[in-house]
């Protein structure tokens, strides 16, 4: 039994059977899992039939289906959906996936993971974007200009060097107490 091992008869029979199965399978077949290659994204659609097939594949109307422009950037036939974040979707509708606000089978945006509710929010703002931008830039530029001016033209009260008492702290600095301290005056009359 131990001598049989990998070169044994049973192993050979099993290997032969596997080889036969592999030969018997048609060319190009593989173990089926997930979606077939027709259901997966492919290259940019060139003919109207390809566009219609791609629209059907992505569960969209042919009129709604608009692929990304064919710039060779790697989008293929993936549809270009409006750049709206999940915040804009109806919070009260019964979504199949309530946290993503997404329904089963609905085409997902290319940047779907950017538009989730934890991230980028494109919902309309109370104040128009250009007004907010203008206010922010005005404030920022004013502050930067003022800080810059203050850096190059500083303005503060006049200061002089610090004056110490007791003849410039002669004894505290280790001066000889027996010697006469040099008289230091900080004023002129």
């Amino acid at each position: 039994m131990a001598a049989a091992g990998l070169g044994g008869v049973l192993w050979q029979r099993a290997a032969a059977r596997l080889r036969a199965l592999r030969v018997a399978a048609p060319l190009g077949a593989r173990a089926a899992s997930g979606l077939s290659s027709e259901m997966l994204p492919g290259p940019y659609p060139r003919t109207p039939e390809e566009r219609a097939a791609a629209a059907k594949k992505y569960n969209m109307r042919v009129e709604d289906y608009q692929p990304y422009p064919d710039d060779g950037l790697g989008y293929g036939d993936y549809p270009m959906l409006p750049k709206r974040s999940a915040h804009e979707r109806d919070p009260w509708y019964q979504w199949d996936q309530p946290d993503m606000r997404h329904n089963w089978g609905e085409p997902m945006h290319w940047d779907f993971d950017m538009y989730i509710r934890n991230r980028f929010d494109t919902s309309p703002t109370q104040i128009p974007w250009h007004t907010m931008r203008k206010h922010f830039l005005v404030f920022l530029s004013t502050m930067l200009i003022m800080f810059g001016i203050g850096q190059f033209y500083p303005s503060y009260r006049p200061v002089g060097p610090k004056q110490y008492p007791f003849n410039d702290l002669y004894l505290e600095r280790g001066g000889d107490p027996n010697k006469e301290a040099p008289v230091v005056t900080h004023y002129e009359i």
């Binding site: 997930g34 979606l35 259901m39 997966l40 994204p41 492919g42 290259p43 940019y44 594949k57 992505y58 569960n59 969209m60 109307r61 009129e63 709604d64 710039d71 060779g72 950037l73 790697g74 989008y75 293929g76 993936y78 409006p82 750049k83 709206r84 804009e88 199949d96 329904n103 089963w104 089978g105 609905e106 085409p107 997902m108 290319w110 779907f112 494109t122 919902s123 309309p124 703002t125 128009p128 974007w129 250009h130």
Partner: protein
């Protein structure tokens, strides 16, 4: 002299790629032509069919362990495995590839080389004080 008509609320609001137009200001919503209603009906039909498929799987007496979402699988496939086959070297992509992929490598090679040569020169001339560090 009479002023012209006031600017539309949509223009005054100014949507861009960061904020979208509220539905109340969107002139598209003002139109309820038969074509638009037919389009909406078709979209609703597609949505209803998908919902039905999902609900059948969800509420079936022997539900699958995981209800695969083909839209999610397509999204994943498009972003991972469909980029290289659909990539094409054009002027734009070649420029971007050179700028962002090769550029930083050459830049850092040059930066490190120049920095090391400068330090080497200073050390040879004896002008560089070696920092003392336990680590």
């Amino acid at each position: 002299m009479a002023a012209g008509p006031p600017p539309s609320a949509a223009k005054g609001y100014g949507p861009n790629q960061f904020v979208s137009l509220p539905a109340e200001l969107d002139p598209v919503g003002y139109d309820a032509s038969p074509e638009k209603r037919r389009a909406e009906a078709e979209r609703l039909a597609i949505r209803a069919q998908l919902k039905r498929q999902y609900q059948l799987q969800l509420n079936s007496p022997n539900p699958p362990t995981v209800i695969e979402d083909p839209a999610l699988l397509r999204w994943v496939h498009a972003k991972t495995q469909n980029v290289y086959p659909t990539f094409r070297p054009t002027r734009q992509t070649s420029f971007r590839g050179a700028l962002f992929a090769i550029g930083p490598i050459l830049f850092w090679m040059a930066a490190f080389k120049i920095e090391r040569d400068r330090k080497e020169k200073l050390i040879r001339e004896g002008k560089y004080k070696r920092p003392f560090s336990v680590f």
